[in-house]
């Protein structure tokens, strides 16, 4: 998309906020501290507000979820088209809806797996909707997905169908909304996310010796990689999948599948994030548009993942090398 001057103010604000992103030097400080020290260090950063109520490193997740919620809310508020940025928040609505539905079917008490303050819908609204089976308060696509998920669960009795139905609906809505706004960047970005999600699902299915039906049920349509590609390679060695990806957009994933071992399974997450980061690097050259806003959100998400890794590793007494092995390209 050509430069969109509507984004002038938003991009200027985001460029300002980008200076608060944690760089390699800051990361060195985080790695050299203890878990408590890391928490203190975060209080001197852009995470000051979100970490204000976090007293112990064990509770850091609360601060990180809050920080992500604040980031998404701020970027949405400054965006001339908040609807598009809210697609990143809708994922959390979908997650919260799934958590509430599963808790309801399993008759679990309390808010298990629910993250408040990140999505666009208040968690109490979602909870009430699920309890009363009245989804009119939710956006149409989510309400429809919730009803379909309920029926699918009743038919098959498998909780994973709830994830499959709601995730598909969420991605379809994201793609449709981006298409509706003729935002090719965002549509392309979502397609990459879908492709990477499908690649990861394929690897997990293969590792667990699942069949084509399972793969088909978990596959998210809408990406650039077709289901038939994955189905055809399900029974083949991992190397065959590496060859299939080698000369395409996801060639960077090839080494992971070539040297596939269960012990190094985490490298898949790492490389997928790097593919995403590589894709949004282009946003640096965009003066006006949604790209810098999306890039900022992605950078913040990766940063949060890194902080979580560092603090958990420190609490667990893991080596510095364990943390460094998980650094994404932005921090290397």
């Amino acid at each position: 998309m050509a430069d969109d001057t509507r984004y002038a103010y938003a991009v200027a604000r985001v460029r300002g906020m980008e200076t608060g992103l944690l760089d390699r030097q800051w990361l060195e400080r985080l790695l050299s501290e203890t878990a408590n020290g890391a928490l203190k260090a975060l209080s001197d950063s852009a995470y000051e507000e979100s970490m204000a109520d976090v007293g112990r490193p064990q509770e850091i997740e609360r601060g990180l979820v809050l920080a992500l919620g604040e980031t998404l809310e701020t970027v949405s508020a400054i965006s001339p088209v908040p609807e598009l940025i809210d697609l990143f928040r809708l994922r959390w609505d979908a997650r919260n809806l799934k958590a509430h539905q599963k808790a309801s079917f399993l008759k679990l008490e309390g808010e298990i797996g629910v993250a408040s303050g990140v999505g666009t819908i208040d968690v109490s609204v979602l909870e009430k909707a699920v309890q009363e089976k009245d989804y009119t308060a939710l956006p149409d696509f989510l309400a429809e997905a919730a009803r379909t998920a309920e029926e699918a669960y009743r038919d098959r009795g498998e909780l994973s169908v709830i994830d499959a139905v709601i995730d598909r609906a969420m991605w379809k809505h994201s793609l449709d909304t981006a298409t509706g706004h003729r935002d090719t960047f965002l549509r392309g970005f979502f397609q990459i996310e879908i492709d990477l999600a499908n690649v990861k699902t394929f690897a997990r299915m293969k590792e667990a010796n699942r069949d084509r039906a399972d793969l088909g049920a978990a596959f998210v349509p809408g990406g650039t990689l077709e289901l038939s590609l994955f189905e055809g390679l399900l029974g083949e060695p991992m190397d065959a999948f590496a060859r299939a990806l080698e000369y395409g957009r996801y060639g960077a994933l090839t080494p992971v599948f070539r040297e596939w071992t269960p012990e190094r399974i985490y490298t898949l997450e790492l490389v997928c994030d790097n593919v995403l980061l590589k894709e949004i690097e282009k946003a640096k050259t965009i003066a006006y548009g949604i790209e810098p806003l999306v890039a900022f959100i992605v950078y913040r998400q990766i940063e949060i993942k890194l902080i979580r890794t560092a603090v958990i590793a420190k609490l667990d007494g893991a080596d510095r090398s364990d943390i460094e092995a998980r650094l994404r390209m932005t921090h290397v």
Partner: protein, 207 residues
Amino acid sequence: MRIRANPNRMQLLRLKRRLVLAKRGHKLLKDKQEELMRRFLGMVHQARALRETVEAELAQAYRAFISARFEMDAPAMEAALASSRRLVELHADREQVMNLKVPKFTVEFPAGAEFGYGYLETTAELDRALELYAAIIPHLLKVAEMEKSLQLIAAELEKTRRRVNALEHILVPSLEETIRFISDRLGELERETATRLMKVKEIVREH
């Protein structure tokens, strides 16, 4: 230590029977002690090796779990773990080892049970961690079974050892001492009687 008993033939016979019984009991208990010790030593090595294996497996699963935790936020992890519907069917039974009833566990994983979470918010590391944990369950139960059996055998061994010692160092020597005492006493009485009879005979002869 001598047992308090009247020095008569009846008691002597009774004590001799008790001594035979005590010696037979001692031999049986000694045999039992040896067999228990043999089993105990055999199982100790097995249990130690199994525990070391299980601890290594647990450490590996824990590392995989922490690795999954690095990539997943806490709500996603909570949701994933809360929705697992994998069932483990545990059958607890007892097995006779000598006079002991030791536990026997068998575990089954019903087919078709799902972890119940989706693929988007979870990672392959979580699958791996949960599979590793699931694979450890039978080994963990085996360790529990062996260690409980060892505890029971050790307690029985201790009890048997005390009985063997009591028989060997207290009852049998006491019985032997008492039998010796009664035999001596009866012998003395016999000699007394013989002397008395000889004296009576001599008096009768003089008259």
